[in-house]
């Protein structure tokens, strides 16, 4: 039974030059306690996807099911309940914390807003949350600017955990941190998943991180979901030419296994008023006329989807 199911989700933004297709037709399922990774370059719509699923943005089209229930158009009351169960951790541990609230005030706020707990209970819960995320008690009354990036991100994690959600969108939670601190936070998140059975949607541009943490991976390009597969499968057998190029572009910290890089030409175009057909075409070395037709998501093997009309030719 899927915890979260997203069907043909679309999110367009109005711009003076026409609709910007930030998220265009994304469909996937996420089981309880699992992690789906969403990767892509800046502007591919991965952040918008996460924000739309947890209703921080209104969707344009499509359906969202949570715990088998259609929550695409929640009432005010439903939204309130939903937000207690779906949380978000932000990328920037600097701008995502109110600089005028202390650590404990920030962590306590979700519970205060919910209004189900007494003051004493909230205090106790804040302490226990701080312990869970590895923040020493003496930082209770510190302000965010007094702490380093890693500790701030721990505050963000604690705030997201406060209402015991079953699903958390993690929007590049470690990309602003140094490697050694990044590893601390990733381990913390994995521990929490094991202890509390939380499902994550892990949005990132860092493919090595996403491989490490995800069960399934979605690759996005200009709003389209171009490939989705179980983590191992995607890295061993990438089908879409974009995925291939993306994987080969990762600089591996290993001097003996330097694979031949596929250097893609050109850069991302903009998803404003896109033409039908494959959006990757302009940069794809295999592009031909048939790519101009509209593309569909095909299931190659169980659970491995790809949106490329030529993937069979390319792979063989």
């Amino acid at each position: 039974m899927a915890l979260l199911e997203v069907q043909n989700l679309k999110k367009y933004f109005r711009t003076p030059r026409g609709p910007l297709h930030a998220v265009d037709d994304v469909t996937f399922k996420l089981e309880k306690g699992k992690t789906v990774g969403v990767v892509g370059e800046s502007g591919c719509g991965k952040t918008t996807l996460g924000r739309t699923i947890i209703h921080l943005l209104d969707r344009t089209e499509g359906k969202i099911f949570f715990n088998e229930k259609d929550v695409s158009d929640p009432t005010k009351k439903e939204l309130k309940e939903l937000r207690e169960d779906m949380q978000i951790i932000f990328q920037d541990p600097y701008s995502s914390l109110n600089p005028r609230k202390t650590v404990s005030e920030t962590i306590a706020e979700p519970m205060k807003v919910q209004g189900k707990m007494t003051k004493t209970d909230i205090r106790a819960e804040v302490r226990s949350l701080m312990e869970t995320v590895g923040l020493a008690e003496r930082f209770e009354n510190s302000y965010p600017h007094e702490l380093d990036g890693g500790r701030r991100q721990r505050i963000g994690v604690a705030r997201a955990l406060a209402l015991r959600p079953s699903f958390i969108v993690c929007d590049e939670p470690v990309s602003a941190l140094d490697v050694s601190i990044q590893a601390q936070i990733i381990n913390l998140m994995l521990d929490l998943q094991e202890e509390r059975g939380i499902a994550y949607m892990f949005v990132t541009h860092d493919l090595s991180v996403v491989k490490y943490i995800s069960d399934d991976i979605i690759v996005m390009y200009l709003g389209n979901m171009v490939e989705m597969a179980p983590s191992e499968e995607l890295f061993e057998n990438p089908l879409h030419p974009y995925t291939k190029a993306l994987l080969s572009a990762i600089p591996e910290p290993d001097i003996h296994n330097q694979t031949e890089r596929i250097i893609m030409r050109g850069e991302l175009t903009s998803p404003i008023n896109p033409k039908p057909g494959c959006r990757f075409m302009a940069r794809c070395e295999y592009a031909s006329e048939e790519c101009e037709g509209s593309q569909i998501l095909e299931e190659h093997t169980a659970g491995h989807f790809v949106m490329c009309c030529k993937y069979k030719q390319i792979t063989n």
Partner: protein, 295 residues
């Protein structure tokens, strides 16, 4: 955690410290701002206790001794009507500060309300409010003030009103800009995601972050208001005789600039010192109020 790490962290251990204390701690480091603050406090005390400390009343005329230099009876001498200059300066502080504070606070209040509405709700309301302010700002401020004072008749109250009205658009714009900046921060999104109501977001997240720069701007505005007040009085549209007001005193003394320059000089110095104090204090306050500037 190893003992080595925890000792390193202990020095960061934070005692419960209210934010006001923290601001005071940072402000204290700026010597000039502290001096400016004491000057302001001093001026306020003088303004309040002028009737008690002044040797004479501001209107008492010593008809026999006009335009006299400093003497034992009159430390700073007398003006053309034989009034004690020192006493008039003390009383003048009250007039000037009253003018500055009332005008600025009124303007700030109105500006904050308009700016907050425009900034938070955006859309057509924002557009409408901003266009009204645009038109309003197209009128030269000095001209507006003079016209207003002229239409309503010259009096201290009307001068205050004129200065206040002139200050509103700037305040409103500034507040709107603050709100817009804060509104885009991720922590506002975070607040939404934990179900904060619109009211809570405004009251507990946006306002506390938008107000400090506003306080600074208001403090700086005080200097401007004192100066404008003096200017209006100087051209006879502010405080009316026999009220002692620094601007009016300069105006009074301008006919004797050659023979008795001190008559214009003393109130001029008072204006300068108070304007400078407000500006320097505002500067220091800006640095102290920003929690991101770590010292």
């Amino acid at each position: 955690m190893s003992s080595a790490t925890s000792t390193a962290e202990n020095k960061q251990a934070v005692k419960k410290q209210s934010q006001l204390k923290e601001i005071w701690r940072r402000l204290k480091k700026n010597k000039i701002a502290v001096i400016a603050m004491f000057v302001i406090i001093f001026l306020v005390l003088i303004a309040i206790f002028a009737p008690l400390i002044a040797p004479y009343s501001y209107e008492t005329q010593d008809v026999m001794r006009p335009l006299e230099g400093p003497s034992r009876d009159h430390i700073l001498g007398t003006d053309r009507l034989g009034r004690d200059v020192f006493s008039r300066l003390l009383y003048g502080a009250g007039q000037s500060l009253q003018m500055g504070f009332t005008a600025v606070l009124g303007a700030a209040l109105l500006g904050i309300i308009i700016g907050s509405i425009a900034g938070y709700y955006g859309g057509w309301l924002d557009n409408l409010l901003m266009r009204i302010l645009d038109i309003y700002q197209g009128i030269p401020m000095f001209l507006l003030t003079v016209t207003l004072a002229a239409v309503l008749g010259p009096s201290l109250q009307n001068a205050i009103l004129a200065i206040g009205i002139a200050l509103v658009p700037g305040n409103a714009r500034f507040m709107r800009a603050c709100i817009l900046t804060v509104r885009e921060m991720e922590y506002i999104e975070a607040a939404k995601s934990i179900n904060c109501s619109v009211r809570r977001i405004i009251v507990s997240h946006i306002i506390p972050n938008a107000i400090p720069p506003m306080i600074v701007s208001v403090t700086m505005g005080l200097g401007f208001a004192v100066l404008s007040g003096a200017m209006l009085s100087y051209i006879g549209l502010g405080a009316q005789p026999p009220t002692a007001e620094w601007g009016a005193m300069i105006s009074d003394g301008r006919n004797y600039l050659r023979s008795e320059p001190q008559l214009a000089l003393y109130p001029g110095l008072c204006i300068m010192v108070s304007v400078l104090a407000f500006n320097l204090f505002g500067d220091g306050l800006r640095d102290a109020l920003d929690p991101r500037l770590k010292t």
